[in-house]
Symmetry: C2
Subunit: 288 residues, 2 copies
């Protein structure tokens, strides 16, 4: 696992030169290269590998997905959104570079990432186009941003659908979307057939929901030192979460059930990486 | 000209359905569909046409470029940027939908636009990929956003290069970039050779600078009713503009010289549209 993290970190650094005007490139690079678990790029690379592809072909796309993730964090932390001063234990982007640069750094990452896929992937045009298409679909108003919008609205107590449906919509779009993008991209790079792609997509949906419940539970039970970001914020802001809606015990049950589904799907594939990721999350929540 | 504006407006409306969560799709559509001159999409369509292509092939890309333009306006108007309450005579995006939705609407447009190119263009994968590549190059930190960052920095009196070089950098990147994207895309759709593409790119560079000088002069001499946005703001904020750097007369001379270059380049092509655009700008500034 650490090998893959190091590989992704090395590529992220290489792919992001700091040129004139340096402020914007520094701001982009700052959040992208903050130490992290690199779950999304690793899941992309590992999907390519276990489906018989070459992870070198997947590195530009894997890094692009991490950049998209960083983009969503930069904008989510803005004063007009979640107004968070810390991210991964460090001051958030706008605290270091100012609000204007943070908005622009996020904007820049949204096109820098697909540009990277196009310029650095040595794949047939049809494949590259598919990858960029996936990127645009999951990054935008039909997924990631839809999730963020409904999340913000639900904080203001505005519900168009029921709380349960709303919560599910937020997490499927805000959290699961990037995991789906990661494994779908990995499968496309490995030239997987549609059925296999859908299997991995199904895995990513379950994993994404489990991961969000994990996050909700951690927000309830962790310290700032453990999370590297403000904790208890969800609770204090009356935010709609699995814990606020179902209670801590029921949230743990849902998490456990989704994790079992994930193990079941990935069992057919020889992947220590995927099993390692599942084990780690499960241990933190269920102590098993 | 009006026919092309109507065609673009019709397509922009068709391409942007308002679905759940409606707030984000409404916010995106609001700024994109504010009445405007549609210069960038029209220049894309007209380049395709005069180079022997079919404008139907260019409509998705032309509309995508207008969406990118709207995106840049939405984020430029934010309180943390230029803090403008009006755009095209109407309240700016964040005044209508709130700051969070305005940030997210801009974000969403940045991937909605290339998604549109991919989904609606009926072109070979290589061509579509080239179009998306151009889009990502000109929209991001290497062009449009670089221009915006240096623009903001220069307002704070921060110059890395000389004022003349800085002003040129801002306008080549902030303004000319989208015109270059427009005509380059139009040429790619028409399968133009590299030399022709570069000729049109050269035209767009000159036109972009002329257009920015036009904008700087109009900010100095117009009323709110004429421009549909706050006027005299550049002057009051001590912003670096052609007028502030060179004075009104010298700015008009530079504008006139660039316009002559533009007429010279486009003279070889039978385009009433391009000539009409040049004539209109020239008449406003020089009264000829």
């Amino acid at each position: 696992m650490q090998n893959l993290i190091d590989l992704v970190d090395k590529r992220l650094d290489e792919y992001m030169p700091v040129i004139y005007p340096e402020d914007i490139f520094r701001a982009m690079k700052y959040t992208v290269t903050l130490p992290g678990k690199r779950l999304r790029p690793i899941m992309c690379l590992e999907t390519t590998r276990i489906l018989g592809g070459n992870i070198n072909d997947a590195l530009p796309t894997a890094c692009a997905i991490e950049m998209l993730h960083a983009q969503s964090l930069i904008h989510d932390d803005l004063p007009c959104m979640d107004n968070d001063d810390f991210r991964r234990g460090k001051p958030s982007n706008h605290k270091v570079f100012g609000e204007a640069n943070a908005v622009l750094a996020g904007d820049a990452l949204l096109t820098f990432a697909p540009q990277l896929i196009i310029e650095k992937s040595d794949l047939p045009a049809e494949t590259t186009l598919k990858l960029v298409h996936e990127f645009t679909k999951w990054a935008g108003a039909y997924a990631l941003i839809a999730g963020q919008v409904v999340d913000i609205e639900s904080e203001g107590g505005k519900f168009v659908k029921s709380p349960e449906e709303t919560l599910n919509f937020i997490h499927m779009n805000k959290t699961a979307a990037l995991f789906r993008l990661a494994v779908r991209s990995g499968a496309i790079i490995a030239n997987a057939d549609d059925k296999t792609l859908e299997t991995f997509d199904g895995f990513a949906q379950k994993f994404g929901l489990a991961f969000q419940i994990y996050d909700d539970i951690m927000d309830e039970i962790s310290t700032f030192e453990e999370l590297g970001k403000t904790v208890g914020k969800d609770k204090n802001s009356g935010k709609l979460t699995y814990v606020s809606l179902y209670g801590l015990d029921e949230a743990k049950c849902k998490f456990s059930s989704l994790m079992q589904d994930c193990y079941g799907i990935i069992d057919k594939y020889p992947s220590e990486i995927f099993r390692g990721i599942l084990d780690k999350l499960q241990k933190r929540i269920l102590g098993e």
